[in-house]
Symmetry: C2
Subunit: 183 residues, 2 copies
């Protein structure tokens, strides 16, 4: 049971598929292969998915057992370890700390948070709001003195500020939608 804890991040989302019951790789791939739900934001080749699952196993977040079938190829069933379960719980509630992680990492967190129920989703939304507001203030501080001296740098800051403001507005929308978003 090796616990190396390399810098995993996006791949933790895969733990979400296993949070209720064990699953085999092929089934996870099916969930991701049509452009709906998490498949709308995360496109993974089959071989890439299996590679990530192996990595999660190597690092002790999941264990596998081979399940032989009468007629079909045998399945490798993936199951959360206790570490895996804890890691998922933490991951799904922790806001992302960089703007570039909003598109994929945050959307994956929100996907599972929303499936876990409104409390979890609301918690994530609120935490992410705080993180965004921090970025915003910091960027506004940094932008101020650049306006005259470094127009390009100032515009880059303005771009980021705009993206984060849009994110904050969207988080409000999420909150309003929440009751409807529960499956």
């Amino acid at each position: 049971m090796p616990r190396v804890n390399l810098p995993l991040s996006t791949e933790f989302a895969l733990l979400g598929f296993l949070r209720r019951q064990p699953m085999h790789g092929y089934e996870i791939h099916q969930h991701l292969s049509d452009a709906t739900g998490l498949g709308l934001v995360w496109h993974l080749k089959q071989s890439q998915l299996y590679a990530l699952l192996s990595k999660l196993e190597r690092e002790g977040y999941v264990t596998t057992t081979v399940e032989y079938q009468n007629t079909r190829p045998p399945r490798k069933m993936f199951e959360l370890t206790e570490t895996g379960r804890q890691t998922f719980q933490e991951w799904v509630q922790r806001p992302v700390q960089q703007g570039r992680k909003l598109r994929l990492d945050f959307m994956a967190k929100f996907y599972f948070a929303q499936m876990e129920g409104p409390e979890v989703a609301l918690q994530l939304i609120e935490q992410q709001r705080l993180a965004c507001r921090d970025w915003l203030h910091q960027l506004e501080q940094e932008a101020e003195p650049l306006r005259q001296s470094r127009p390009y740098d100032w515009l880059v800051h303005k771009f980021r500020i705009g993206q984060i403001e849009a994110m904050l507005a969207w988080l409000d929308t999420c909150q309003e939608m929440l009751p409807a978003a529960i499956h």
Copy 2:
């Protein structure tokens, strides 16, 4: 002179450094290593930069000549080929076609476009505006029917719509700033 034309994209930005005069890798790295200008948006390790430059050479966009110095280590000078020059001209004017390329690819284009002068920058801005408006319409079409049936998918669309609207607003800001942004 191999011309393979693999799917290069971000690395074309490096051609921008050579558009006025030949340069060696170390100097390009210096331009990127402080967090201003292009270095604000593109963080490249030294070895990674050299790897990209070699790739551009392999594919025929640049040629190299070694320049020996009396006391310092010899420099490998990179110079645009005619293909490289044309490729840069096309690259710098062509809008990006995916939202996730706004952060890096578009900012790199805009960096050099703006250095080339207001006409080039205005052209890029206008082209990017058109691309963004297309995305926006398409996303709005797609989002419509999802509202009731697939709340998560609808929210993902809303997120993207928000990011693109923010981009469009920012493009207006760029246009207003342009006269000041020229060095």
